[in-house]
Assembly symmetry: C2
Homo-oligomer: 277 residues x 2
């Protein structure tokens, strides 16, 4: 899905919600364990219940890899079940030397090799240019590069200042801007860093930002919009646990829908307030 | 495998060689394609031919993930085939927020969950403490944290100096030293950065270092030893392409053995020269 189509979906659905599919088999409703692939069945019902309210889905690969080859199959079936009008993001946070990153890019982008054909993959910047470029070489695909993450440890290194007072996450954005552009590169900026969005927008006014940390992690949607929204919206705000684990009974999908709907309505207000829709 | 046992193996085998198993199905000898799982058969023969010459094996997970669920099975069979007197390293370069890193740790360390029970996993530091600690919580397992990598892009961010002149990779080592210790934490330092080993050893005199970049990438073993070796050896030097792709005919395993043997002999000389054996 390209940038134009993504913006079109945001305006049509009046939403910039990304639903995280970090599906932990120990947290899903008990009755689903009767299915052959409980993780996939959970995802299938969540997707069915939320598809009209969000513009992206983001399975975190760790939750599938944790179950080995069987987990990889659940991931593949989940990817196949994602609606084509939603951006599909493999939250993998990969990054390795050039020839190896190329293998990772194939793993997530090239269905002929791996069975997976995600639109986007999250990538870690520590290993630099040749670890990121192989992902950018796939036509029509997106790299979503870690910049300023939502977790506590994000502050250990990402905000270290160089001799000129530029923080590491700023250097990452400045440098990566020379590798890709707003049509194939997004940045991860945690919602828990509201005040930092203005700094990020100085360096990346047009790029989309993937924003985790709203919901269970405590980030504020209105603050993210105030400092982070641009004329095209430019935000994909992710919520995971607050939606997919809203309830653990037979009504889990309906309750997930209610949570997604509440966020979509809040997002609609933000889009209207700024004249984007 | 704990530190004492690792040092014992190094002294017994007179080697600190790690063989990388980055097995690319397009590069293996044609006759292996007759096997049900050509990648595994290649690995099995490489392992059989080199097991007495090395102390560690390091499959890079990208090369398995690239083939989806089938690739994951090849990885599992490869892990099962690794000799117990060698350290098994999953070169995965993972790292995510706390609850997610825990899933990754299970994926590589906990056989009951994933079928894999590696001794060590490589981890990327960008997301900080809570992305690394879940791996360190597994008793008897190792984290091998990226510090200064061997690729060209390694210089994009890893050598940025803060206001006091400390480079990012030094900050990573200084900070991670407070999360783990020389019994459960190693650092990745590329052989292509010979001059940097002295700096690394200032911050981590006792830790083992995993050193990629000898062989195809052009790093010098004698330079690595001169600046990086400590009283316990403290080095695991990895070679991949120069060993596993030494030949592409029916003699590939024998030729891989010859390459491994040449490195082992060079390592033996380094160990003797410094009185470690």
């Amino acid at each position: 899905m390209n940038r134009t189509e993504l913006i079109r979906q945001i305006k049509a659905k009046r939403s910039f919600l990304c639903v995280g599919l970090d599906t932990d088999i120990t947290k899903i409703p008990a009755h689903l364990h009767a299915y052959e692939d409980p993780v996939f069945e959970f995802n299938r019902q969540i997707i069915e219940a939320t598809a009209d309210l969000c513009v992206a889905y983001k399975p975190n690969v760790a939750f599938y890899e944790g179950a080995g080859a069987a987990g990889w199959k659940s991931l593949q079936k989940t990817w196949e079940a994602l609606p084509k009008d939603c951006l599909s993001i493999a939250d993998a946070k990969r990054g390795d030397i050039g020839n190896t990153s190329k293998m990772y890019a194939r793993a997530f982008f090239d269905q002929r090799h791996s069975g997976l054909g995600f639109d986007a993959v999250t990538v870690a910047p520590y290993m630099g240019s040749d670890s990121v470029r192989p992902f950018l070489e796939f036509d029509g695909k997106w790299v979503i590069l870690l910049a300023l993450t939502s977790n506590a440890g994000g502050l250990d290194f990402q905000t270290i200042k160089d001799g000129e007072g530029t923080m590491l996450f700023e250097r990452v954005i400045q440098t990566a801007n020379t590798w890709g552009n707003a049509d194939n590169l997004m940045y991860v900026v945690g919602a828990t860093r509201g005040e930092a969005f203005a700094t990020v927008r100085k360096h990346a006014p047009h790029h989309f930002l993937l924003v985790p940390g709203v919901g269970a992690q405590g980030g504020s949607l209105s603050e993210v919009c105030e400092y982070g929204m641009n004329a095209d919206c430019g935000l994909l705000v992710n919520a995971t646990r607050s939606i997919i684990y809203a309830a653990d009974g037979r009504d889990f999908a309906e309750r997930a829908r209610q949570e997604a709907l509440a966020l979509q309505r809040e997002m609609e207000r933000e889009l209207l307030m700024r004249g984007i829709i």
